[in-house]
């Protein structure tokens, strides 16, 4: 544990600082790039920063650099729809994401930073017999892992979300739902800032505006990296990027089973609170939640073709409006404020890729598809553990890169991009 004094936030501090009219002190310092680090983490999103934080807090490894080519949280961490849940389909998936929910539950206390986690409940709608069967399957797998998850009827759905149309009028009527009370929404930027502040206080160097340009590999072993601000000697490099995971791994000569696809999301004007839980419909390719400010946030499944472009499309907004109005006809007069896209690194089995690679010293924490943000804390904790102990722990063992050559895929059909 580092002895760096971390400034505490409290209601009293907020009051006195507010009345003092002085600017808040800087949350972390700018550092010059050192010529060497014990560990170099590529990507200043929730995964990279959480890894840095747990390396320092749990293992005392603080000679660490986090390289971010833009500003922290500018990639997937700031573009997702901020949903947290653990009701996945496979035992290994549910177990893994449940640890993340548990970490999120006390993250605000751990980091002394308000991450605004609201466990409002997460409802996945079933529009057919077969999808109701999948929901039942998921609920049973979840319960065996000790996760609160149950199938509910349309009348129970109506009580939890009165604005949903549960009649048989829509093209895809609601037959039931998978109800997951611990799921909810969180302020994703706050998670990024909280981890960055806590990691920096423990001694980690966070380098924004610093782009990785090459990874130096000598006879199969990582010896350093080249950046836009100069070279760094290191024997451990962790790729914690989303969207550019394949391109960065290629610098170390590692090929990944990833196809990068954009996923579009949109937000409406704010209105009075009317929707409490998070509503998801796999058949209608949409999920919706209402933020504490009153905006409705919508997400879709991934775009129908691979791309690194984050440009929005009209097909997305028209499709979204059609689908959302099937669920909630009452919101037809609401206006969309803006839409955006994030990049999703899709793997063949909808599971992430965490672990060592054929290049010695080069580790990956990638392939996070549509489920990366909710896994940030557990991925950070597990990757830090793997670096400190030299081998992947029990939670991440099923997600190694070698599973694709061995043929031991995870088949996680509980992911958001998968229709049931």
């Amino acid at each position: 544990m580092s002895d760096v004094k971390r400034p505490r936030y409290s209601a009293w501090k907020l009051l006195t600082q507010g009345f003092s009219k002085k600017p808040w002190p800087k949350v972390w310092e700018h550092h010059e790039l050192q010529s060497s680090y014990d560990v170099v983490i590529i990507g200043g999103g929730v995964h990279g920063l959480a890894t840095a934080y747990y390396l320092a807090r749990n293992h005392g490894i603080t000679n660490v650099a986090v390289l971010e080519k833009f500003y922290i949280g500018s990639g997937g961490s700031g573009r997702n729809t901020a949903i947290v849940r653990s009701n996945y389909l496979t035992p290994e998936g549910s177990r893994f994401y449940d640890r993340s929910v548990k970490l999120y539950e006390h993250l605000a206390q751990d980091l002394n930073f308000n991450v605004m986690f609201e466990q409002r409940g997460h409802m996945t709608l079933a529009h057919s017999d077969s999808s109701l069967r999948t929901m039942r399957w998921r609920a049973e797998v979840n319960k065996l892992e000790g996760i609160n998850s149950e199938v509910i009827t349309p009348s129970e759905i109506k009580k939890l979300a009165p604005f949903l149309d549960i009649t048989d009028h829509p093209r895809y009527p609601i037959h039931g739902a998978l109800w997951h009370p611990p799921g909810g929404i969180i302020r994703h930027d706050a998670v990024v800032w909280g981890y960055a502040r806590a990691a920096a206080a423990l001694g980690t160097h966070i380098h924004q505006d610093t782009e990785l340009t090459a990874i130096d590999v000598d006879s199969g072993r990582v010896i350093g990296v080249q950046t836009s601000r100069g070279p760094i000697a290191t024997r451990v490099v962790i790729n914690c990027t989303a969207g550019w995971a394949s391109l960065i791994s290629a610098m170390a000569g590692v090929t990944l089973p990833i196809t990068t696809r954009p996923l579009q999301a949109a937000v409406t004007e704010p209105v009075k609170k009317f929707l409490h839980p998070v509503i998801v419909s796999g058949s209608l390719h949409t999920y919706v939640s209402q933020t504490s400010r009153g905006e409705l946030v919508f997400g879709a499944s991934v775009d129908p073709f691979a791309s690194y472009s984050t440009r929005g499309s009209l097909e997305f907004t028209t499709g979204l409006a059609t689908h959302v109005l099937e669920l909630m006809p009452a919101i037809s007069n609401m206006r969309l404020l803006r839409q955006w896209a994030g990049l999703c690194d899709m793997t063949p089995d909808f599971g992430p890729i965490i672990g060592p690679t054929p290049a010695d010293g080069f580790y990956v924490d990638v392939g996070w598809g549509t489920y990366g943000f909710k896994a940030g804390p557990v991925a950070g904790e597990s990757v830090a553990d793997m670096i400190a102990n030299g081998q992947p722990g029990r939670l991440i063992e099923p997600f190694g890169l070698d599973r694709f050559e061995k043929g031991t895929l995870t088949a996680e059909k509980g992911a958001a991009a998968v229709g049931h």
Partner: protein, 85 residues
């Protein structure tokens, strides 16, 4: 919107097509299972220009070979999959 110039049908919205991904050379029939799995799963997923396969499902129902830029979505060449590239 992505406009794909189908050699059989003319300019069509990408909604009419299904995307089959980058074209990866197929291994020999007697290759070992590990090689086949690499062929199935591993992708170069590079940026810039990519040669990929699309299927015109709501049109001529032909497979097409498309050269598209993954950073800008610009398309510079579309031909029938069977035509020499």
């Amino acid at each position: 919107m992505l406009l794909i110039q189908c050699p059989h049908c003319g300019d069509r919205n990408s909604d009419e097509f299904t995307f089959n991904g980058e074209i990866v050379p197929r291994p020999d029939a007697d290759a070992d299972p590990a090689t086949w799995r690499r062929y199935l799963y591993m992708k170069s997923n590079g940026d810039g220009w990519q040669t990929e396969r699309w299927f015109h499902v709501s049109g001529c129902r032909r497979f097409l070979r498309v050269e598209r830029n993954l950073d800008t979505n610009e398309i510079r060449d579309v031909r029938d999959y069977g035509d020499p590239s």
